[in-house]
């Protein structure tokens, strides 16, 4: 029984969510008395992969075939499945991203495996099964789910576990090639368009989000300036995206993007139950609203009842004054 971690990389680097998956995989391997091996696909710096040793990965299988430059589900699944076979892995750990859960789903069908997404805690061993805690009902509840198949796949939700380094050793990087055909690349992307903005919403540790209380898109510079001062990503509530003040890919909530940053700052958002569902797994929630009865205050850790056009500039000033 060994543990295989799929390490997601982008722009030549290991993603932060992949470090969480690596550390989670290491912890599970320790529980099972085995070691954690990773598989990485595409162009990524060797030092980045060696550095995974600090998170408990002993070896990284690295497939650099040029056709794998962009994500295509069939091809990536074949590579991960080949790594599973090589390492005789019975537990596979991935990040709960579009790519991670996409690979997990195909892999589960291919290997007849149990698959849990949105996992927020380390598993409990229960005989030949693993029991995991996962977020359900869009963050409104948790479920304890038992993975009963011999092979188990776990997609770890971002920021759900605390990552520590476990030493200074470097992971061994081993070249790895899976046998792929042209048919595996059906649906390869023709063009990739990167979102603008300095910090990715799905990867961000701090998110500053605006609602209808912002009164109009012309006031969005307040959200952007506060986000910039805090190194944060920007987001918005559904009504704001619906009226076109902000693009839909910034909409966080039950039917938009579900996020779990360390800090979520909601400006002029009253906190409808659907919005809360998408953000309530954030570690710390700050709510700024002029209405003291706004339901969001019940879910908040810190709050300011006041005029956002007076409050936010003060926050920007204070954030800029912070020693970084």
């Amino acid at each position: 029984m060994s543990v295989l971690v799929f390490v997601e990389c982008a722009d030549g680097k290991v993603k932060k969510s992949a470090l969480e998956a690596a550390f989670y995989g290491h912890q599970v391997a320790t529980q099972l008395g085995t070691s954690a091996v990773a598989v990485a696909i595409g162009e990524v710096a060797a030092d980045e992969l060696k550095n995974l040793g600090q998170y408990g990965i002993t070896k990284v299988l690295h497939d650099t075939e040029t056709r794998l430059k962009d994500y295509v589900s069939q091809a990536y699944v074949k590579v991960v499945a080949a790594a599973v076979e090589k390492e005789n892995a019975t537990v596979i750990v991935l990040s709960n991203t579009n790519i991670g859960s996409g690979i997990g789903a195909r892999l589960a069908a291919r290997l007849q495996a149990s698959f849990a997404t949105n996992v927020v805690a380390l598993p409990e061993l229960a005989g030949n099964s693993l029991k995991v805690k996962k977020s359900v009902f869009s963050g409104k509840a948790f479920a304890d789910e038992v993975l009963t198949a011999p092979t188990k796949i776990i997609a770890v939700k971002k920021n759900a576990i605390e990552v520590n380094t476990v030493g200074t050793h470097e992971a061994e990087v081993e070249s790895f090639t899976a046998s792929l055909t042209d048919a595996d690349f059906t649906g390869a992307p023709r063009e990739t368009i990167r979102a603008t903005g300095d910090v990715l919403l799905t990867e961000a540790d701090v998110v500053v989000s605006g609602g209808r209380g912002m009164r109009g898109p012309e006031n969005w510079h307040l959200i952007e300036d506060l986000a910039k001062a805090l190194g944060a990503a920007t987001a918005c509530s559904k009504p704001v995206a619906d009226v076109g003040w902000r693009p839909h890919h910034e909409h966080v909530g039950q039917t938009g993007i579900t996020i779990s940053p360390n800090l979520y700052i909601a400006v002029g958002i009253s906190g409808a139950i659907q919005h809360l569902a998408g953000v309530n797994s954030s570690k710390v929630i700050v709510v700024i609203n002029k209405d003291p009865e706004a339901p969001f205050f019940k879910a908040a850790d810190y709050g300011i009842v006041g005029d956002i056009f007076e409050v936010v500039p003060k926050l920007i000033e204070a954030a800029k004054a912070l020693e970084k």
Partner: protein, 245 residues
């Protein structure tokens, strides 16, 4: 164009979630069930494609008889016919097997569904169905156009989007702003009553996961309010007390 749209039956998004006293079941008393919002994007886009290119839209639900109200709603919105696989959907793999079984016997060009259900948030069924059928899966898609045998899609990736061109058949999961969901009109509601809704028994399969218990998140201890006149103090608290920035 022959399109299959898979829909799930989920609690309305305004539902306050609670569980039975043993925490094993969702407390459904007073809960209204709706078509999963993401599946509505899939359904509407399917209908738009049918209207411009011709063809049929079949709605598929894996569920017990209590889901038929929402299947009829999908028919009222414009689907041509419906299939209900008579099985309580307890596990993604079990559901995917049922969908793949239905699809295996019909020559669908497209299988569309939402990117995830808003109840169990598995985001697994589309990938599993694609793998079981050996088809490409484009997930999650925000745009889908079809010309001849080729689909052009925009797929959301972390930090941007990709444009993908791929030959049919494919599985696509949908999210905003794929389409604008429709409300059934009176004529649609009347004609839905006469549209075919076929109930089929499930194929045998084995669930790979079991939900043992549910729990609600711990309640927050209460909000700490900061005087708006000294709003900057919030930043100090976030650094020194919450240690979060």
């Amino acid at each position: 164009m022959k399109i299959l749209v898979c829909i799930s039956n989920v609690p309305d998004t305004t539902t306050k979630i609670s569980f039975s006293s043993d925490n094993k079941e969702l407390n459904t008393a007073g809960v209204q069930f709706v078509i999963n919002p993401y599946d509505e994007y899939a359904l509407t886009r399917a209908l738009e494609l049918k209207e411009s290119l011709g063809g049929t839209v079949t709605v598929l639900n894996v569920g017990l008889a209590d889901t038929e109200a929402n299947i009829r709603k999908a028919l009222a919105i414009g689907a041509d016919d419906a299939i209900r696989v008579n099985l309580k959907p307890t596990d993604s793999f079990l559901v995917a097997q049922q969908i793949a079984e239905v699809a295996k016997n019909e020559a669908y060009d497209l299988i569309l569904m939402g990117k995830e259900s808003v109840d169990y948030n598995g985001a697994q069924v589309h990938g599993m169905v694609a793998e079981l059928l050996g088809w490409p899966a484009i997930v999650p898609a925000i745009k889908l156009d079809v010309a001849g045998n080729t689909a052009t899609l925009e797929r959301e990736i972390e930090g941007g989007k990709e444009i993908v061109k791929v030959n049919l058949p494919i599985v696509v999961s949908c999210q905003q702003p794929m389409s604008e969901p429709r409300i059934p009109n009176m004529r649609g509601i009347m004609t839905a009553r006469t549209k075919p809704l076929k109930v089929v028994e499930p194929v045998s399969g084995e669930a790979k996961t079991q939900t043992e218990a549910y729990a609600l998140p711990e309640k927050k201890s209460g909000v700490k309010l900061i005087d708006p006149a000294n709003a900057g103090e919030l930043i100090t608290l976030l650094r020194n007390e919450a240690k979060i920035i």
